[in-house]
């Protein structure tokens, strides 16, 4: 989780990702950020996130992204 928070902070240094809950709905993360994030997650955790998982519910908070990573790791 800590590595994920570091990746997110690199994208938007001013943002508090530990508490933010509406990253997509509030347009903090755009589609360019999402793709960069997917590449970073692939590199850090060796988890490939498929296109069908790129939906707002999976990226609205650091916790949701982490839950997605864990789910894909278990599959």
């Amino acid at each position: 989780m800590e590595a994920l928070l570091n990746i997110l902070s690199e994208l938007h240094p001013d943002m508090d990702f530990e508490t933010a809950q509406n990253l997509i709905d509030d347009q903090i993360l755009d589609s360019f950020d999402i793709v960069t994030l997917v590449a970073e997650i692939d590199s850090e955790y060796d988890v490939a996130i498929p296109a069908e998982e790129l939906i707002p519910e999976n990226f609205n908070s650091a916790q949701a992204i982490w839950a997605l990573i864990e789910k894909l790791m278990d599959e």
Binding site: D30, A39, P50
Partner: protein, 522 residues
Amino acid sequence: MQFTSFGFLAFAAALLLIYYLIPKKGQWMLLLGASCLFYLWAGTEYLVFILITVLTTYAATNIIGRRLQQQDAYIAKHKAELSREDRKTYKAKVKRGNRIWLIGCLVVNFSVLALCKGLLIQPFRAMAQDTGLDFLTLGLPLGISFYMFQSMGYVIDVYRGTVRPERNIFRLALFVSYFPQLIQGPISKFSLLAPQLCAPHSFDGKEVSFGLQRMLWGYFKKLVVADRIAVAVAALKGSEFTGFGFLLLSVFYAVQIYADFTGGIDITIGLSQALGIRLPENFIRPYFSKNIAEYWRRWHITLGEWMKDYIFYPISVSQPMLKLSKSARKRFGNFGKRLPVYVASVATWFVTGIWHGLTPNFILWGMLNCFFIVLSEECAPLYTKFHGKFHLKDKAWYGSFEILRMFMLMNLIRVVDLFPDVGEYWHRVGSLFTTWNISLLWDGSMMKLGLTGLDYAILGSALVLIFSVSLVQEKKGSLRALLQTKPDALRWALLFVLFVAVVLMGSYGIGYNASNFIYNQF
């Protein structure tokens, strides 16, 4: 049957009446019947195209759905014996088979679309006529770009396992052919639209009233503004005007396409709302955007979402792109990291361009949008530094400046639509820097564009009204909901004035063509 014809109004009124009188379980069948009638009215020769989409979509989704069901049953039955690796291998095998059905369906449908669009341009048109395939050159089948993309999005969703396939072919046919969307979208998701189309709907006075009000607003934009200014756009385009004349053309065209497209969408969404069906919004006051990314989140939203979900994301997170990202990062640092995003952006905007037409000007239009999006993304750190130093964002006027800057930039990109000859477009863009002829505003040239002083007065007043309504919506939300809280007499008086304005000030008669929507040709 065009939205702006009296025939359509009678058709819609009869449909609404019967829809709420018949038993609710028959409502979706009535909608299917109405959609077939609407399509047949446009031309029986094109029925074959929409049938191809319905049949191939039905076949592919049901085969894929059955294979996924068998996969789940097999895994559940052999849960104890299968290791995690075995399960993965089995799923991958099923997915490979499903992919063949998916690709087959996409290839058939997009080939039909490419054929229809290709035959609009020479020399393919001449070839078809020479070989006796004249019927293919009559024009683009009604709504083909819209129903095709909507249907293919559904096929991909079934392949991904995010929606279950529709087993009833007639219900699927309604999803593909739902007539209010046929003219110019919006492009809906199956998971949002299909359940609503087939659900029973009770008469709800407020929803019907809100729907009809929105239709009236759509007719106002289309008939009073879009069709009136279309005359001047055609005159400016056909003239030798360069320099300021070209700038004026880009602004007039911005007004025309906005009023035309959003007006048509208002009619579509309004009629659907009256039928108890909520369609996705396609516009959120796009001309208030401050940057190009925001503009594309507000303009033709459903096409943008389609492109993002089915072109941009799949390309940018594909394994080859992730590999490219890794190796490019080592060589080029941060820029390399973003390389997949830029490759996917070029592909997405290329497809968006050819969706509009298989001509060089639409490809250029797509590439110009892509260029400015990527440029603004790359320059973002510079903007941050600049604003950190000069604090312009704190100034009251700066927001308006950003909106005006965005409006003019998008106008100059969009106007390429009007120039199939790309060389002519660049010639006119170049003239902005060489020809200073602002005097055409007062030297009588404006009165030679097919519009009278009264036309300009009507246009000016209508635009002030549209701007004011947009401003209220931007700050306070739905204007209809706001009016609902006011006395009935005031609300009805305002609606009556709007109705009279459409009747008296709408563009009808010789010199006007109140029938075609711009996006109907895509």
